[in-house]
């Protein structure tokens, strides 16, 4: 990194209004054991730089994996050419970006560096074997993906932000089959990821989960379909994160509200004038942008535009306060936002993304939430997600459901799903779990942007109870 920094610094121009060099170096390791077979490790090494220029009412970028002096110079010339070509045509004529400085490093309690490749494979092999408990298990996978990344943002007015991240993605997947009925259980649908080291595996009991998931997959084969009708809905945290992501996170992205995403990811039912007055949910709903949560996927000190990241409420007591938009979107919209301008890699420009977007815990224990339901269903782990382009009409499905009858968890049901409308769904929130039910997780694959980008985000949530929701089941 230091060598690259010196090289980049030599090329930093002084005759341009705003220039940034965003260097991204990344090492990854993907390990998979499937049905008793260790698949070949897949390592990755990313290295590239994104150069962004704002000058004379134009803006352009150039990204290159050629980090030689000639490569950097060519990219800089390319970015300048785009700025010149777009002069007077861009949505924002001048950069509003700061030239910040600072550092961030993911906290790691127990480093993977203390393990060998053989150790990591053995860990997965043991867990994968524990998934294969019955002849009806037709597929079983244990995997571990790790990414260590270093980013450096240099600007032409002395900005220097250096951040190092260590992200860990463990997963288990077990599939059972009987005739035309196939059921799959996973380790939180991939949501049990986070920053850190080996301790990420312990946060959700990676070492103990396999037998339970396998037994539940088998149990689902013989379970009745989820009933259809209007009833109370209790969502586990690993389904809440999907609910938050799709029907709070995306609608509040300021670039959607500004229309940038209308040709691809969609628009939003939220309009600029709604901030400050709109009742998004019941008064139990409190949602924060929080880049400071230890170990969460998208904790950081600065976003990729170099804006200092601080915690803030987006929704407080059910009222909409601010949007998910970085410095550029805030300048364009006049709406208060947060530091969430992020790029998925060196080869894509930063846009408004979710980062750590969390529902704050309430006061009810899990037993109290269940006990308050006369007729309802409890759902875990998302496996189907679909929502309209305004982020309003949604339909989600889960891996595992249990009926709640007269305050008790009872029959396991298969293929549970539910439908709703974002604009009214959150107003039916009638119970929020306390800190004991609150889990810090993430979504590994959030797609958005033109050109397309997939990025990981963080979500934390307690279990939450909603009243009178349209629930349904499969065949």
């Amino acid at each position: 990194m230091d060598n690259y920094e010196q090289r980049l610094a030599r090329h930093m121009p002084t005759d341009i209004e705003y220039v940034s060099f965003r260097l991204h170096l990344e090492r990854s390791e993907g390990l998979t054991v499937r049905d008793g077979v260790v698949e070949p490790p897949h390592n990755g090494y990313e290295a590239g730089v994104m150069i962004t220029v704002w000058d004379r009412e134009g803006m352009g970028y150039a990204a290159t994996s050629d980090l030689s002096d000639a490569g950097i110079e060519a990219a800089l010339a390319g970015a300048r050419a785009w700025a010149e070509r777009t002069a007077g045509l861009v949505v924002l004529a001048r950069s509003p970006l700061a030239h910040g400085s600072g550092t961030y490093v993911s906290a790691v309690d127990r480093s993977f560096a203390a393990t060998t490749l053989a150790d990591r494979i053995a860990l997965l092999a043991v867990q994968e074997q524990r998934l294969r408990i019955h002849a009806r298990i037709v597929d079983s996978v244990a995997s571990l993906y790790r990414v260590d990344s270093d980013t450096l943002l240099l600007t032409n007015r002395g900005g220097r932000v250096r951040q190092s991240f260590h992200n860990v993605f463990p997963n288990l997947r077990v599939t059972a089959n009987a005739g035309a009925n196939t059921q799959t259980r996973t380790y939180g649908g991939g949501a049990y990821c986070g920053q850190g080291g080996l301790e990420v595996l312990d946060r959700f009991g990676f070492g103990e989960a396999a037998p339970r998931l396998a037994e539940q997959a088998l149990e689902l084969l013989d379970a009745p379909p989820c009933p259809t009708g209007s009833m109370d809905l209790l969502l586990a945290p690993d389904q809440m994160i999907l609910q938050i992501h799709e029907s709070i996170g995306h609608p509040l992205e300021l670039d959607r509200i500004l229309g940038d995403e209308r040709n691809f990811a969609g628009t939003s039912f939220v309009q600029p004038e709604m901030f400050g007055t709109y009742r998004y949910g019941s008064d139990l709903l409190n949602v924060t942008f929080d880049p400071n949560v230890a170990g969460q996927m998208a904790s950081y000190a600065f976003d990729d535009d170099g804006t200092v990241a601080t915690r803030g409420h987006l929704i407080r007591g059910g009222l909409l306060e601010r949007g998910l938009g970085g410095t550029i979107s805030q300048a364009r919209s006049g709406v208060a936002g947060v530091a969430n301008s992020r790029a998925c890699a060196w080869n894509r420009p930063a846009i408004d993304r979710m980062a750590n977007l969390n529902v704050e815990p309430g006061e009810m224990s899990f037993a109290e939430l269940v006990g308050s339901v006369e007729h309802g269903v409890y759902l875990e782990t998302n496996n189907s997600w679909s929502i309209d382009d305004s982020r309003n009409k949604f339909q989600f499905g889960c891996e595992y459901g249990r009926l709640i009858e007269d305050g008790e968890l009872t029959t396991v049901v298969r293929n549970p799903g539910y439908r709703g409308v974002s604009a009214t769904f959150w107003r039916s929130l009638r119970g929020v779990g306390n800190a004991d039910t609150w889990q810090v997780m993430g979504t590994p694959n959030c797609g958005k942007g033109e050109p397309n980008q997939v990025i990981w985000v963080g979500h934390a949530s307690p279990a939450c109870l909603f009243g009178d929701v349209a629930v349904f089941g499969g065949r």
């Binding site: 150039a62 040709n263 499905g397 033109e450 050109p451 065949r475």
Partner: protein, 445 residues
């Protein structure tokens, strides 16, 4: 850099790397690169504009039946790239030492070398931007113009060399009227024609006029529907998510499970092909196997064949057809039907004209039950005439039904649609498929 220079440089690097091998080691190398321009528009103005230059080399070091893989970005500096490759080979060698033998390793040890280089007739970015700006005058245009050269290569220490490069552009855009009322279109190809682009602009403009009528709210229920080719892309994309791969069939995770276990069939007119020879994507994969010109997946409504990756081939003892590890079509073709394309409105009669679908997912995967939303130019039609746009509707129906007993017919003039996705890099995927009229489609919200 001229294309032949790049091919030569990759060739030189892999040849040099092959010289660093020990004993009986084998090296498989897959190259992926692009030089692309991306210009993003909103409200007719430029939101972001720039270029991406990227070159990635994947190395699979094989020691007997042990192997490990890595992917690294190339810098363009020959000495530095050699140093990095040497470091990666050392690391892969260390990893192989602790790995078990891989019983499913399969690579082409007797492959055929090939070169496929498309002509580069890309428009000057200034020309394309000027045309886009002209089309945006007085309209709310949002979308992405992308253009550039895409490179794929395969090289092994056994001497096989495959090289592919194609230079294409794609302008994928929408004209918005208000809120979510918009018409979507795309113009993609090898060489830019102002006249052809203008025809597409005018088609979108005419749709905008209809979108200006007050929108109807249709209640949930079952409606007769016409699915335009762009909407059909979304449906077949869902089928492609595990529907045609051998592994998903053998592990019972295919959405077409009922075609396998219960003898369910699609409409006899449905014929679905992985049409490699008719598509844009390269015909070789990262293990060096050449794909057949076509693989017939569904014929006469019945399941015919799978896409088989080299790994699945070894696992299930079936010959590979060179499919990628995810075993999904890259050049999917649905055969044309007999409904006159010019007469689909009359065939529809009264019902929904669905221009696009959006955000599909399985609501019951084993039953191929799928949910998703209408989007963009979707209209209510009566007596073969468009009445008004409709507010978005959610459907939830089995694709086995929609393309089975509920299918009235497929249109007789299929459209070629290039995949405009750009995750990581610009897609080389494509579709060739007709529109479809269905007796009823179930809408739930």
């Amino acid at each position: 850099m001229a294309s032949t220079d790049l091919a030569s440089r990759v060739d030189d690097l892999v040849t040099w790397a092959a010289g660093q091998l020990h004993g009986d080691e084998v090296l498989l190398a897959a190259f992926s690169g692009e030089q692309a321009d991306y210009v993003r528009f909103n409200n007719g103005s430029v939101r972001q504009a720039g270029s991406v230059h990227q070159q990635a080399l994947s190395l699979d070091l094989v020691q007997g039946a042990r192997h490990a893989r890595t992917t690294l970005q190339l810098t363009g500096e020959a000495d530095l790239d050699r140093t990095r490759v040497a470091e990666e080979l050392r690391s892969l060698r260390e990893q192989c030492a602790v790995l078990r033998e891989d019983p499913y390793l399969l690579y082409n040890s007797d492959g055929t070398s090939s070169v496929r280089i498309g002509r580069n007739e890309l428009p000057d970015p200034d020309v394309a931007m000027a045309e886009v700006a002209r089309s945006a005058r007085g309209r709310d245009l949002v979308g992405l113009y992308s253009a550039g050269t895409t490179y794929r290569g395969f090289a092994s220490s056994l001497g096989q060399r495959n090289w592919y490069e194609t230079s294409t552009f794609a302008f994928d855009w929408s004209f918005y009227l208000h809120a979510d009322k918009a018409t979507k279109n795309s113009y993609a190809g090898l060489s830019w024609s102002n006249e052809e682009f203008e025809r597409k602009v005018q088609w979108s403009a005419r749709q905008l006029e209809v979108l200006g009528r007050p929108a109807l709210v249709r209640p949930p229920g079952a409606y007769r529907a016409y699915l335009a080719p762009a909407a059909m892309v979304e449906l077949v994309d869902m089928l492609s998510w595990g529907g045609f791969g051998l592994k998903s069939h053998r592990t019972k995770q295919t959405p077409l499970l009922r075609m396998v276990t219960e003898g369910a069939t699609l409409h006899p007119s449905v014929r679905i092909i992985e049409d490699t020879v008719g598509g844009v994507a390269p015909n070789f994969g990262s293990e060096g196997f050449t794909k057949p010109d076509e693989v017939v997946l569904i014929d006469g409504g019945r399941y015919t064949d799978w896409l088989v990756s080299p790994r699945s081939a070894r696992e299930y003892d079936v010959p590979t057809n060179g499919a990628s590890s995810w075993e999904s079509p890259e050049s999917l073709s649905v055969a044309a039907g007999t409904l006159p394309t010019d007469g689909v409105m009359e065939e529809l009669g009264t019902g929904l004209y669905i221009g696009n679908l959006w955000y599909l997912n399985y609501s019951d995967r084993a039953a191929c039950r799928t949910t998703g939303m209408t989007r963009f130019g979707t209209f209510w039609v009566e007596g073969g005439e468009i009445v008004a746009p409709v507010e978005v509707l959610r459907f939830d129906d089995s694709l086995l039904h929609l393309l089975g007993e509920k299918l009235v017919g497929l249109t007789d003039q299929p459209e070629v649609i290039l995949d405009t996705a750009s995750y990581g890099s610009r897609s080389t995927g494509s579709y060739r498929l007709p529109g479809a009229v269905v007796q009823e489609m179930i809408f739930t919200l």
